[in-house]
């Protein structure tokens, strides 16, 4: 993937944060300076990077990997300063609160603030790669569409003026790409297919890759006749899951790299590193 910004999404529970961390680790191993961003839910990404929590200031968490977590008040503050072109607004508090109240009711504004931070960071060119652990697929649409929603909603305000470059950066397939993470199971597959259909219909962002997670290798042997023994039962379970996975994989309209099921791995950092190993090879 050559893009400068990767937005990593997927249904809840598919391993979005682990894959985000793995993509960052793999790029850093290639010598890239990487920023990872926890956009909404930050704990998962922090755990996979081996830190307690993410702060709003980009902090180096591993060699070559910086991380930040978007906090809405701070992001709103920064956004308003940029939008209003005021370097120092002494009483930003009441403005931010009033703005936030409006944003609770007006569609797209909150999401624009969050997406705005990700896009601002990408635009600075401080980073070779920005990996955003984005909202789950159920909420990604409203984030991707946010600048457009806002420009349809508001007339001539300064917020609207900011939406154009955001749409341009997001829509530039050479710079920005969506990474869909999925499992080879019914609900994640259905949701992934629906999201991909929506994405291609809207044409606001390109898809960089569909990564399937926790995929089993073929059993490589015949299932024994006796399923009452552990050998037989484990073989049957493995083959059964493998078959079910292949069935759902075949229904995905678009497939990139496969990541393996990691047997017996306990630590979130080890998970991210092992997945990075595989990303490196494939």
């Amino acid at each position: 993937m050559q893009q400068q910004l990767l937005l990593v999404t997927g249904k809840g529970g598919v391993g979005k944060s682990a894959v985000s961390a793995a993509l960052a680790i793999e790029a850093a191993r290639r010598g890239k300076k990487v920023l990872t961003i926890g956009m909404v839910e930050k704990r998962g990404l922090a755990a996979h990077l081996g830190v307690e929590s993410l702060s709003y200031e980009a902090t180096e968490v591993r060699p070559g990997i910086f991380a930040l977590g978007i906090e809405r008040p701070a992001a709103l503050d920064e956004y308003l300063r940029i939008v209003l072109r005021v370097p120092r607004l002494s009483r930003i508090g009441p403005v931010a609160r009033a703005f936030d109240a409006l944003a609770s009711a007006a569609p797209g504004i909150r999401e624009t603030v969050t997406m705005g931070k990700v896009l601002f960071e990408t635009r600075t060119n401080n980073w070779d790669l920005v990996v955003a652990d984005a909202p789950p697929s159920g909420a990604i649409g409203s984030h991707i569409r946010a600048p457009k929603t806002v420009s349809e909603l508001v007339g001539a305000g300064k917020v609207r003026e900011q939406t154009r470059w955001m749409e341009d950066l997001m829509g530039d397939g050479a710079r920005t790409g969506l990474v869909m993470v999925t499992l080879a199971e019914e609900l994640p597959t259905v949701e992934t297919a629906e999201t991909l259909r929506w994405i291609s219909g809207e044409g606001l962002i390109g898809v960089a890759e569909v990564i399937t997670n926790r995929i089993l290798e073929p059993l490589g042997a015949r299932i024994p006749a006796d399923l009452s023994t552990p050998i037989g039962a484990a073989a049957a379970l493995h083959a059964g899951i493998f078959q079910e996975q292949q069935r759902w994989l075949a229904q995905l309209p678009d497939r990139g790299r496969e990541l393996p099921y990691l047997f017996g791995v306990t630590g979130p950092v080890e998970v991210a590193e092992r997945l990075a190993d595989v990303l490196e090879q494939r």
Partner: protein
């Protein structure tokens, strides 16, 4: 019946399957049972008798004591507006893009819609057992705190943020010039938006009294509820499960049990491998045995830490999608008897 059975946990762990399985088991035991579910897989919906998207309870043709309904939060919100706001305000609300933005994107709004539907069916007293497959939350006990959150939001938090103080009359809100903060927002967004949102908030506020009363009734049901937490042995859902044990006692009874879905047999961990076993099969068992050991450690740590009943459901290659195999999932565990006495 005493109160609803609330099935909670992180997304993707099999909450809907466990809710359905509990429902089938209860219905087969002769209880008139209602399962409220959010987003079932197609085959599971079919098993429950939900061939189409039914927002109202539908009886299962194969098992008439089992009823199921899908929770459609958008439709529920239109109904909520109509039952709590005066007719003209309700008309404006359901047609307002702002109303749809709030009901779709405010984190607690889907939870609230589900909770209000739950309360409505409990009021009907038509069912012995009501099982709620709680909607995906932004985390933790949101389903339980949603009524208060939403009442506060509607009741004036937005207003006070917008006006910086007490709730104003309609006229004062638009007096942008008098409030520097609003003037800046106005420049940022354009005054037309400020005015439209202001008018919307006035309409929204008419639902406050109704929402507050309803929320208190819902919270009464929560205090009588029995919660079970579903998880797998993976770190993220286990962390989420732990939050319920830490946070739920603030608002309701602590979880009655934690269900570990996709559990592997502990017997695999120390299984002897017969001498004539082929290499791929021996290697396969070794992998799964390692995973079984990891899972057991996670369960043991959870049990020691939260001193709760642990129910294990075995890992099946595909989720069960017919009534018999759904019931079998729960029958083995004896969980139903613990929840309904």
């Amino acid at each position: 019946m005493t109160g609803p059975i609330l099935v909670t946990g992180a997304g993707g762990v099999g909450k809907t399957t466990v809710s359905a399985a509990l429902g089938v088991a209860a219905a087969q035991a002769g209880y008139r049972t209602l399962v409220l579910t959010v987003d079932p897989a197609k085959r599971l919906a079919t098993a429950l008798g939900l061939d189409e998207l039914h927002n109202t309870p539908t009886a299962n043709k194969m098992l008439p004591t089992l009823w199921a309904a899908m929770l459609d939060s958008e439709a529920s919100w239109d109904q909520i507006a109509r039952s709590h706001a005066p007719p003209d305000a309700a008309d404006r609300l359901v047609n307002s893009e702002f109303f749809h933005a709030i009901t779709r994107h405010f984190p607690a709004s889907q939870s609230y819609a589900a909770a209000e539907a739950m309360a409505q069916y409990l009021d009907d007293r038509k069912w012995d057992v009501v099982i709620v497959d709680t909607p995906p939350a932004s985390g933790g006990i949101e389903f339980f705190t949603a009524p208060t959150e939403l009442t506060n939001l509607v009741g004036g938090r937005l207003f006070r943020w917008l006006t910086g103080g007490a709730i104003p009359g309609r006229r004062e809100l638009f007096n942008v010039a008098a409030r520097p903060a609003l003037r800046i927002v106005d420049i940022a967004l354009g005054s037309d938006l400020l005015e439209r949102v202001g008018a919307f908030l006035f309409d929204l506020r008419t639902t406050y009294d109704g929402l507050r009363t309803r929320s208190q009734e819902i919270e009464k049901y929560f205090r009588k509820s029995t919660t079970i937490v579903v998880t797998t042995s993976d770190p993220a859902p286990v962390t989420e499960a732990a939050r319920f044990f830490k946070e739920l006692p603030q608002v309701a009874r602590p979880p009655a049990a934690v269900v570990f879905n996709r559990t592997l047999p502990t017997a695999w961990e120390k299984a002897e491998i017969p001498a004539d076993t082929t290499r791929p099969l021996a290697r396969n068992l070794a992998l799964w045995a390692r995973e079984a050991r990891r899972q057991e450690t996670v369960r043991d740590e959870f049990a020691a830490r939260y001193r709760t009943r642990i129910v294990s459901i075995g890992w099946k290659p595909s989720a069960p999608t017919d009534l018999e195999s759904l019931a079998a999932l729960i029958d083995e565990t004896g969980l139903l008897a613990d929840l309904i006495d």
